[in-house]
């Protein structure tokens, strides 16, 4: 046990985070219902990414855990980004 005892996250923090996630969900539904046409998908994806970052950080404790988990998570996100970018470079230039 090299690290100190577990960080106990308060009920209040979890409650506030849920509230924030619900607000972001409401925004993404609202944005796509109003015709913003081409930007709607981008906005919805940005909101989804924000929501995931919040879930990973607080609910999944990346913010409070040892740094190694955060580094690995960032690495996975980078791998995914690289795959998506490469795929679209491929399809975009066919």
């Amino acid at each position: 046990m090299s690290d100190t005892t577990h960080h106990i996250v308060s009920y209040r923090t979890y409650g506030l985070i849920l509230l924030l996630l619900l607000v972001l969900t409401a925004i993404s539904v609202a944005v796509t219902q109003i015709e913003l046409s081409r930007w709607a998908t981008l906005v919805a994806l940005l909101l989804a990414s924000t929501k995931s970052a919040i879930v990973l950080g607080v609910f999944m404790h990346l913010k409070f855990d040892q740094r190694v988990y955060k580094v690995m998570a960032i690495f996975v996100v980078l791998v995914m980004t690289a795959v998506i970018v490469l795929t679209f470079i491929d399809y975009g230039f066919r």
């Binding site: 979890y14 969900t25 796509t32 219902q33 995931s52």
Partner: protein
């Protein structure tokens, strides 16, 4: 010497256990990531059809299920707080609520899929064959990805049910709750995947 042998069973490595579940979560993310890339490419090639097909999906049910999963993520996260505060009763209640919400999610999914079947929409249905390639791809991906996600919900429910029993039997306690935390991490993964499934399938107009 005999003492250490006697306590051999008591050895545990919480950090190693957590690292294990995280590695599993990463493989799951890349697995679904591949499906999302597939979705992105087909949508790029069949923009019009995807938009029209997506209008068949029920935004209300999708939104309700999003809210349900977000709340269940909070309750399972709160249960690790409760167990650390040695509050077994609250821990059990929170885990119970999580299970209940997971069940409600599946019931909604059942009604949603039934409505699709009633409209003649399922992979390989006669209607699907009349519709174009874009619709077939959209609904194929829709059924496969939300179905695979639902399978993860079912597995999560089994895992959380096991955890519930172990908390009740005091196998999981304030100083030994890694299984609860790992179960929670898995449950958040299920939530994470849904966070992307929801806008990509339900919110394209």
């Amino acid at each position: 010497m005999t003492e250490s042998v006697a306590h051999h069973d008591a050895h545990r490595d919480d950090e190693g256990s957590k690292l294990g579940i995280w590695l599993f979560i990463f493989t799951e993310l890349l697995f679904f990531g591949g499906l999302f890339v597939t979705y992105a490419v087909y949508r790029y090639e069949n923009r019009q059809a995807f938009h029209l097909a997506a209008e068949q999906l029920d935004v209300t049910i999708g939104t309700i299920n999003t809210v349900i999963l977000l709340i269940s993520s909070m309750t399972i996260a709160m249960s690790t707080t409760a167990i650390q505060k040695k509050d077994k009763r609250t821990t059990l209640i929170l885990i119970g609520i999580t299970l209940l919400l997971a069940l409600v999610f599946l019931v909604n999914k059942y009604f949603e899929w039934s409505a699709k079947f009633d409209h003649g929409i399922w992979p390989g249905s006669p209607l699907m064959e009349e519709l174009g390639r874009g619709d077939t791809l959209f609904f194929g991906l829709y059924f496969f990805m939300t179905g695979l996600h639902a399978l993860h919900i079912i597995i999560g429910m089994i895992l959380i049910a096991v955890i519930l029993v172990r908390v009740r039997k005091d196998k999981i306690t304030f100083d030994n709750f890694q299984l609860l935390e790992n179960g929670g991490l898995y449950w958040h993964l299920v939530d994470l995947i849904w966070i992307f499934l929801f806008p990509l399938f339900y919110l394209i107009n």
